[in-house]
Amino acid sequence: MTDVETAIKNGEAHLKKMITTIKHSVSYDETAYHLPISFALTGIAVHDQKTAGAVFEKTGSNPLVAMECILAEKTAAEGRLPAPFTGFIDDTVIRKLGYSLVDSSILGLALVVGKPPGPDSASAICRELQEKYMLTFLAGDVVTSLSGAGVKLGLEYRLIPLGPTPSYGIHFVDIIARVAMMFGGVTPGDIQRLLTYAKERAKAIVIVYPGLSDEEIAFVDGMRVLGFPILSLGDYQGSTWISTTPDTVVRRGMDEKGIRVHVTAIPIPMGCSPAFEGKSIRKEEMYVEFGGGRSPAFELLQMGSADEVQDGQVTVIGPEIDAMEEGRAYPLAIMVKVAGKMMKKDYEPVLERRIHNFVNYGEGSWHVAQRDIIWVRISKEVVAKGVKIEHLGKLLAGKFRMDFPQLLDAVSVTLITDEAKVREAKKDAEKVYEERDARIKGMRDTEVSTYYSCTLCQTFAPNHVCIITPERPALCGAISWLDGKIAYEISPSGANQPVERGAVINTLNGEFDGVNKFVKKASHGEVDRCSLYSVMEYPMTCCGCFECIALMLPEVNGIMVVNREFKGITPSGMTFSTLAGTIGGGAQTPGFAGISKNYILSDRFLQGEGGIERLVWMPSQLKEELKMRLTEKLTARNKPDFFAKIADETQAATIEELIDYLDRVKHPALTMKPLV
């Protein structure tokens, strides 16, 4: 066993001595970066002992600098290495190499040094590195070991033999230094920028076999400051090197640096692009549909462990599309399981909401709403092209991996079309939705000073801006304040941005200076003011995804709420869909607001208009759905009998019937301050 710490000490001392013995001029042809490591670190062009000594001193006797200078002198003295060794690689090749790194045809760089125990060990590791799109550099006995095993070497095989001893591994570092200067905007001498680049952007790992000299150990250890994991395969102890085995070393290294194999194409027989997001599938164009109040349907995304989720797996339980009759509605459960090292349970609802976008990316698939009120259609056109239910799963699995490469390692999708099984699974999903809603329950708008925006819907409602607060979820009901916060963490340039509340303009209406400023900017100058808690004055804009619509009924001095599932005519004389057509598209319509179901339960609900006492009418189904939670709230607020005063379509289907009903129950709205 080699003790690494002792070896480093001896090696560094030896390197220090060696650097003073440089006699000849040191330089490489075919580079504009002199000795690239020294140049990148200090901006000094090393060409002789004096300049080498200066850089060595300036960098605090850095072993990488020492090794670079010593090897450069050796190369200058001995000339180019014989084939297959490359030695120093010139700038033109580095430029191409950097290109492949930026365009992701190479995912990362690996250096393998030392003497493998037998020919098979190294060839297995190198094969795995090739399969994972890593570009591998080799230095030392590993090269002879590989050529002995018949492994082909060279740039075209992504296996590059740098030189016959591990010292030549230093070229691995000079390559990264040059890539940083060419592609990373690192100016020579800007050591901080260089280190940041090496740590955060250079996806490099180092694999060490036994057989290194003390100086070589010192130089390999020197790469730790660049943030490269040093993975040792035996014989080294007493250091921060990661001890591992040949079977797991590649995976471990890639995990350490967060290097992931990307999904680049989705194998389905229809187009898949944001360009299709805005299109809808009309009844005449549709082959089949799911949900939308016509059949039970829901969607759910949950995280699982790495062993549990097999990446890309799509399972369809129940009849496929060829067993479905054209023009009909069928049950559907969309269940996505994701796994990833950085994945958190809190992220689930945020990712779940992306199902909406992804399904709409499909050329012939269409999706609205969320959770257990989804409505999905598949067009005749793409069914003719061979699209099946299964392909929705493939689309989702692919898109999730593509769009969240940092977050997700594996995504699998289960699609259920069997009615009994959908209903069964839906019960469990509803429990999950409840747990998620409970997580944010109890948090107050006044407790935080940052709210979150959502502009996900600007693709079809160009000036719409949702402001999400702890007590007012997004109008679609799918994104809570917590979700907004997490979405911002996952994707800082995405559709959810932090909004500083700023100074209070109107407490009751919930109008804030910071919110107004944000809305003005995010609505491209169209909307100047936005009250968070008022339907009447500067209400929030609406896209088209609202779970419910709240609207003023001047005849009764009150406000009614109708949910998307309600198909009948409301006392306003209009159906939900007619109303939706009136208020959507990103407009601000005083007297109307798009809201989520949960917002009805909030203490902020209708605060600007005097609170929940303004609520005069809701469909019976919505009343039923909210009954337990709403009566609990009302009891806590000492108004236990108010719930019964809210009319529904069975008591009042028209405005006349509503006036009568409200009179009869002595509804408080009748005597409140006039709304208009």
Partner: protein, 325 residues
């Protein structure tokens, strides 16, 4: 006095440089600096930005090209280099946009031939170039590497990056100091998102030109116009992620029904008219580069831009309808 032509806007469109002269390390006879505007086009008497540039689009495999252009140009389309030369000397284009349509052949793999084509075009014209690489993700990496490398030093504009396909183009721009066309599907937010993605990969803002996607007049142009307008307004209001120059190419103009079904004797002029009015409208919306395919449209657009800028275009119309000084 006239109106305040900047309407209280504080932003400015960033400048990008296209082409490089010998003194700048390339072989072009001139280079252009586009952008720099502080208001909408054609308003100022002393404009803050140059007149829009007109690019003629050509290709290296005419099989994929409009029959109308092939009829008009005859055998010229068989020789990419001569076509480019004629675009400069006869048709009067400011820029040449070369589409490598040969890459659309099934299982195309002759990457080296693209390098030769680009070299021959660089030799036959001294105008700055726009090069459109492949349409096929499978060969993107090699194609853009070839484009970038062959045109090294010439500061070309490389197309076309999209949200799910921008890495190779960005890499070629970074490696060989070119600029990139960033195309989004008629959507201001997606345009911004792509610019952010490009920035994150390391491409500076002064190497990006926005292509908001242009539909032909009567075939969705109004959406493009609105997207361009909104991108420009956002930029002028100070959104740095949208403050790049724009390029517009209404490539469908020559294939629409009105042109296809026009009387044979009128087809050519109908095509030119359609391209002209679409290009004109895109220029009014703020595009700095207008691309056309019919050679005759080039000079019409250039004359039109010239006459608006030097004529009555910037003079204020008084309440009574007469023009003020």
């Amino acid at each position: 006095m006239g109106h305040n032509l900047t309407f209280g806007w504080s932003g400015k469109i960033g400048r990008i440089t296209l082409g490089a002269t010998r003194a700048e390390g390339g072989t072009r006879k001139k280079s252009y600096s586009i952008g720099g505007g502080t208001t909408l086009p054609f308003l100022e008497s002393d404009p803050s930005s140059a007149a829009p540039l007109v690019a003629l689009e050509i290709c290296d495999d005419p099989e994929y090209w409009s029959p109308i252009v092939k009829n008009y140009c005859g055998n010229l389309v068989e020789n990419t280099a001569s076509w480019a030369q004629t675009a400069e000397k006869i048709y009067g284009a400011d820029l040449i946009r070369l589409y490598l349509t040969s890459t659309r052949q099934r299982n195309f793999s002759d990457i080296a031939s693209l390098g030769k084509t680009i070299e021959s075009v660089l030799r036959s014209t001294e105008l700055p170039l726009i090069i459109e690489g492949s349409n096929e993700p499978r060969i993107d990496s090699e194609v853009f590497q070839m484009c970038g490398e062959t045109a090294q030093g010439e500061r070309i504009l490389l197309g076309t990056a999209e949200a799910d396909r921008y890495r190779s183009i960005a890499a070629a721009a970074l490696a060989y100091n070119h600029s990139v066309i960033a195309q989004s599907p008629i959507d201001v937010n997606l345009a911004k998102q792509l610019n952010i993605l490009l920035r994150e990969i390391g491409l500076p803002r002064d190497h990006i030109v926005i292509d908001p996607y242009t539909g032909a007049l009567g075939y969705g142009f109004e959406y493009s116009f609105s997207a361009m307008e909104r991108i420009r307004f956002s930029a002028l209001k100070g959104d740095a992620d949208l403050s790049m120059p724009m390029i517009s190419s209404a490539i469908d103009s020559l294939a629409i029904k009105e042109v296809r079904e026009a009387e044979p004797s009128l087809q050519d002029s109908m095509a030119v008219q359609w391209e002209f009015y679409t290009g004109m409208a895109a220029a009014v919306a703020g595009a700095e580069i207008i691309c056309v395919r019919h050679p005759k449209t080039v000079i019409m657009l250039k004359n039109a831009f010239e006459s608006i800028r030097n004529g009555a275009g910037f003079q204020e119309v008084k309440q009574d309808g007469t023009q003020g000084a």
